[in-house]
């Protein structure tokens, strides 16, 4: 995987969760359990907590930012997020959670080409786009 851009710096370690379809944090993920609750999502019932979430693009409404902050506030948020396309709503959510609650959730845009899984490391040093 090649990181194109770092949206929110930081480092994160977690089990990779590749989402077959984007999930909306607002309404699609329970802010109490961290589980995907969207009944139409193929991975409904799977937890995003402390995982490195990879999805092709973000999804959802203007409630996305606050929904991500709420998840991070209660400690049920993802460890980090890898997106195929940049997203300002998730960026705002991660930045606000860092300021308010000192919770880190780095976000990068990367070339999501294959279904490789395992432990990934996302580092602020990748700002210039070096490979992970």
């Amino acid at each position: 995987m090649k990181v194109d851009r770092v949206l929110v710096e930081g480092s994160a370690v977690g089990e990779l969760l590749i989402l077959d379809e984007p999930v909306s944090f607002w309404g699609g993920v329970s802010s109490e359990s961290g589980l995907i609750v969207d009944p139409l999502h193929p991975q409904v019932g799977v937890s995003v907590s402390n995982r490195i979430l990879a999805m092709p693009h973000a999804k959802g409404s203007s409630g996305t930012s606050s929904a991500l902050v709420e998840l991070l506030r209660v400690g049920k948020g993802p460890a980090g997020i890898v997106l195929g396309v940049g997203d300002s709503m998730l960026t705002v959510g991660s930045l606000v959670a860092r300021s308010l609650y000192e919770v880190s959730c780095p976000i990068v845009v990367a070339d999501l080409c294959d279904g490789a899984s395992g432990e990934w490391r996302i580092q602020g040093e990748t700002l210039e786009g070096s490979a992970l």
Binding site: V8, G27, S31, S62, V69, D87, T91, V92, L95, V96
Partner: protein
């Protein structure tokens, strides 16, 4: 990233701690969007004053504690409480206290307590070409499409940071290139449907599903698409999709011709929309018909023209089911000035201000479906409130309320 002297000074803390924090967020987001410049904005509309989660309150209080004050005229969206009619609130006291604290925090930041999702119905609405930073999906799509003002889709946190700095990332709908339509919606329906109002929210709902985040260009509408009808269309499109702007050729200000709306290029795709496609879309907004439990109109908030129409349609008769009218305190003031409030009392309507029946606990327990003229309400209420919905024109809503059962007219009745 090209930053002005003002931007740099704000980042250095010259405008205070809250402005410094806000500018950092604006710059970080601009970088995440690959923006190279920021743009001055002339006004803002804040969606973050509706309580959904502790984080929103923590954030507002974080800013207030650091001396936050907006630097451009800023209006406030609906909240969770109706401050003019507090007895209507049916939720728990703890939520109400937090909701009130959140509202107070934004007023402390010098935002105007307008509490409306239709800031384009206020005298302060922006004009053609003005750069603004608005939250609330229906307001965003109306500002861009109908007024020709320019805003991206701002959400919680980011909207107030733009208001505290007067700056926004210069990308997307703020730029000429970002406003070009890409999907042609070729509407082919008979005159009766263009004349009636029921088609507009259904068309919006269908367009949202068809285009997602793209900018649609609709052909086939004309001057019968009034502001209130375009409001209904845009609100529905911004609910089923993430539409931030649409063009309607011959109707909206940046769409004199199809070619102009498309920026001189060919559309990525053309979708033919006829009565069959609209009929399928209507099915999404109608539950299995059951008894009528209540009526809720005014999502987005009703205009004075729409309330006048309710009074005229009722013409002295009374509703037999709870009939909720969501509107702004500004419109209520104008109703009082014209005596319309007396007509609404005679009709037996419950006027809800500052909030909306689908976002907070206002409605009495309903046995039966709720009829609405709003595609947006019909889209969200089944999940938010657990009620069945029936979509009808404003006239259908009033006649149904008087009859105590579903009365629908027009093509799909």
């Amino acid at each position: 990233m090209n930053l002005s002297g003002f931007d740099q000074a704000t980042l250095n803390g010259d405008q205070g701690e809250a402005a410094q924090f806000a500018m950092e967020l604006v710059v970080d987001v601009a970088e995440s969007q690959s923006a190279t410049d920021l743009v001055d904005i002339e006004q803002a509309h804040i969606d973050g004053c509706l309580l959904h989660g502790q984080a929103l309150l923590d954030f507002a209080e974080y800013l207030v504690a650091r001396g936050a004050s907006v630097v451009v005229p800023t209006t406030l969206n609906v909240s969770s409480l109706d401050l003019l009619h507090p007895d209507l609130y049916r939720g728990d006291a703890d939520t109400a206290r937090k909701a009130r604290r959140l509202m107070d925090a934004y007023v402390e930041m010098d935002c105007a307590p307008t509490w409306t999702c239709a800031p384009y119905q206020l005298a302060s609405r922006p004009g053609f070409g003005q750069q603004i930073a608005w939250g609330e999906s229906n307001a965003i799509v109306f500002a861009n499409s109908v007024l020709g003002a320019r805003t991206n889709r701002y959400g919680d946190f980011m909207d107030i940071c733009c208001a505290l700095t007067g700056r926004a990332p210069f990308v997307g709908l703020h730029t000429d290139a970002g406003r070009r339509g890409t999907v042609h919606i070729d509407l082919r329906v008979d005159e009766g449907m263009i004349d009636g109002e029921i088609m507009y929210p259904i068309l919006g709902h269908l367009i949202g599903k068809l285009v997602g985040q793209s900018i649609p260009v609709i052909t086939g509408l004309d001057s019968r698409a009034t502001e209130d009808r375009l409001k209904a269309l845009g609100a529905a499109a911004a609910s089923s999709g993430t539409v931030g702007m649409f063009h309607a050729v011959g109707v909206t200000p940046e769409a004199e011709t199809l070619d102009l709306a498309l920026g001189g290029r060919s559309p990525e795709r053309t979708v033919l929309v006829g009565v069959d496609e609209l009929g399928d879309a209507r099915g999404d907004l109608d539950s299995e018909p059951g008894p009528l439990g209540a009526v809720s109109v005014g999502t987005p908030h009703m205009s004075l023209a729409e309330i006048t129409e309710v009074a005229n349609l009722a013409s002295g008769r009374s509703t037999t089911v709870p009939f909720y009218i969501n509107t702004s305190r500004d419109v209520v003031d104008r109703c009082v000035a014209t005596g319309l409030d007396i007509d609404l009392q005679t009709f037996g309507a419950t006027v809800v201000t500052d909030t909306c029946t689908y976002v907070t606990s206002i409605m009495e327990p309903v046995s039966g479906d709720v009829m609405t003229n709003s595609g947006k309400w019909a889209y969200y209420a089944p999940a938010n409130l657990g009620v069945g919905v029936a979509l009808g024109s404003l006239a259908d809503c009033v006649e149904s309320a008087i009859a105590g059962r579903r009365v629908t007219t027009g093509h799909w009745s």
